[in-house]
Amino acid sequence: MPKPCAKILDAVYEVNLLDLVDSELEKLSAEKSLGLSLGEMRKIQNYFIEEGRNPSDVELEALAQSWSEHCCYKSSRPILKKTVFNISAPQNICVISEDAGLVDFNSEYAYVVALESHNHPSALDPYGGAATGIGGVLRDVVCMGAKPIALIDPLFFGPLNYPEKKLSKGVKHPRYLFKGVVSGIADYGNRVGVPTVAGMVEFDESYVSNCLVNVGCVGIVKKKEIIHSRAGNVGDIYVLAGGKTGRDGIHGVTFASAELDAESEEKDIPAVQLGYAIMKEPLMHACLEANRKGLLTGMKDFGGGGLSCVSSEMAYAGGKGAVVDLDKIPLKQEGMFPWEIWVSESQERMLLSVRPVDIEKVREIFDFWDVPATIIGEVNDTKRITATYKGKIVLDMDLGFLLGGVVYERPYKLIPRNTSEPQYSIPDLSEMIHALLNSPRIGSREGIIRGYDFEVGGYTILKPMQGLVNSQTHGDAAVLKPLKESFQGLAVTADVNPLLCKHDPYWGAASAVDEVVRNLVAVNSVPHSMADCLNFGNPEKEGCLGDFVDCCEGLHFAASAYCMSFVSGNVSFYNEGAYGAIAPTPALIGIGIMPDVRNSISSDLKKEDNLLYLVGDSKHELGGSEYYRLLGLEGGRVPRTYPRETLKGMNSLLNVMDKKLVRSCHDISTGGLIVSALEMAFGGNLGLDLDLGVIPNLRTDIKLFSESNGRWLVEVGEDDAEEFESTTSAIKIGNTRKEKSLRIKDNGTDFTLPLNKLRESWDTALEME
């Protein structure tokens, strides 16, 4: 048994670590919910043996935060280094190393991208968890000095019709989670006045007890106003700006780094953080104003690990040390222990590093915005982090030790998948088309999208819903015009198909990159950068880590081939529950550059009697397709990526788009060619006459439903057909028509379906009630 701890102060204990044997070390870690392994506990013990003293509970908690998977990427770093971090691109200014990636926009400006997961908190409290996820990613962008201009929300839930009876204790129904998450994002995002312009929603049984809530943010910053997450100079002052510190969010990162279980509901209450959008909005304004006026030497948001991580990491990144006075931290409730103050993850807080001469000016700005700003510490040259409480030192550690962290080369293995082609009889094609449109994975997202203010600010030029008013359809990417004085734009999309990744992590991940590229090109932007949020199960399980490695390699392959690099990202492990690990989910957001937003292309069909072309090859690739899933089939070949061909398609498309030969364009993804074609038809409220005979060597169902990568559908006016055909290798597969129906012809097959019925299937797929 660990001996009772000695009191250092009323609320600080010395933890008797030096004389503990292995079993006692493990027990201590468990009892205090530190989440540290035996090896890690030993390493800590050795450090304190060298220091010649026992640690305080504050120090032990600090280590637990900094050494958590969430903060130090101990299982993933070696793999990431070889894969997703290992792509460089000339446009990158500062990537991977800070809270958000910085990429060149034009000579004067850079754009900023951040993507975070907020999975476990959202599984417990969907509304608050999702809201604080948005809050966190906004701070990631603001702390680079950038103004947030767009939010993106890739979401993953269990099936909405999942039988209530099958839920295990403490697990909330997917419907409840879905509604809560969407309204949390809406309420927070809308309140802070940043448009939510893109996202995605996927459904799969593997997410039933562990939904995924990923949130991304794009910002824009003048290059000369970029600020870094580091302490400036020795003697600078640490200023804590924003909300008070409370017991909410304690152990958030250790909690993010463990599996959820039945008791999580009661046990993990303090880990849930709570959002306060009405503090955030002025906080953002004040921080950006102070930075614009050149009053800050460093700025970092409070994320996972709270004050402990932010104050240490800023000092470490600046090559300095720091001392923080815990008595100065404004608290929400009395009686908080120093260790709680040190690791609390209360929301809406930022840490600023300020030269002493500028303190008054900084104060004035925060006063004007009614945002509290408190001096809490000072930067020094000790390369140590020190915390005092009631005049006594309660924490004093070498920053290299605290943040150098731990790294594991964990064992992994790739679990082979069934890739044999299943036998089946071809279903009724019209029924299947309706079934696909009515699938929650495919049907209209309008109910979600319109709950978000996607155009506050007035710069969302291509909106997520496109086409004829009151009959609008899904777009491929949103286009933003961030600067008043310029028509240059950014296109934004979010993609991954977890079903493909489940069937083949490598090609599934590569397909996600391919889809990003397709979506960005479809609106006439040049793919420019990506951020990744890698959501996986427990990395201590060899199979899970094998999937992770395979996905990372797939991402690396495809992204290198497309000359796109990952400029920021996040790894979320331990996404497991009663049903095992989630499907491997490397969620991506992609950013494209657009010289002139007035050349944006939308996805809605424009006019009758125009021609419809298919760019790219259709293949017998139905593994992981929605078609197979609806038929209950396993196996099959997952779509491969052929970057050389896709790049050819992409370049020829961008070329004809610049020549203004393209009236509308949409990429082909989940559900295949027919879903894509119909989405285009819905947006223009026009009919389509398709003749698939020109697609070589495939059965009709495969032509319609294969999810092969590298493909787009393009609408072209009759007058432009000749020029279009001469510059691309696209094949003509039909034409638009006034009659509001879909006609499909292919080697003897010939049937017609009314558009309004098809639209109804698509419109009603996602029950929002």
Binding site: H173, Y176, P270
Partner: protein, 82 residues
């Protein structure tokens, strides 16, 4: 039989009440001598059930499934004959 249930949903202690805090701040600005504001959500639900116990059971289910989140909220149910 028709019953009327009053469901009262409150945030657990320690959970920040953003709305309550905003109202508190506003009332103070309007110079009311207010020390604290908590918001409570009340649903008055009319339903059919065989007995008051049944009604309570139904509503309890609805609370757990839809209306309240036990992680951050407490709820109480009061049933009356309508």
């Amino acid at each position: 039989m028709i019953f009327q249930a009053e469901v009262r949903i409150e945030l657990k202690p320690g959970v920040i009440d953003a709305e309550g805090e905003t109202i508190h701040k506003s009332l103070k600005l309007l110079s009311y001598p207010v020390v604290n504001v908590n918001t409570v959500k009340v649903y008055v639900i009319t339903l059919e059930a065989d007995s008051s116990e049944d009604a309570k059971k139904e509503i309890d289910g609805a609370c757990r499934r839809l209306l309240a989140n036990p992680v951050i909220q407490n709820y109480s149910i009061h049933i009356e004959n309508a």
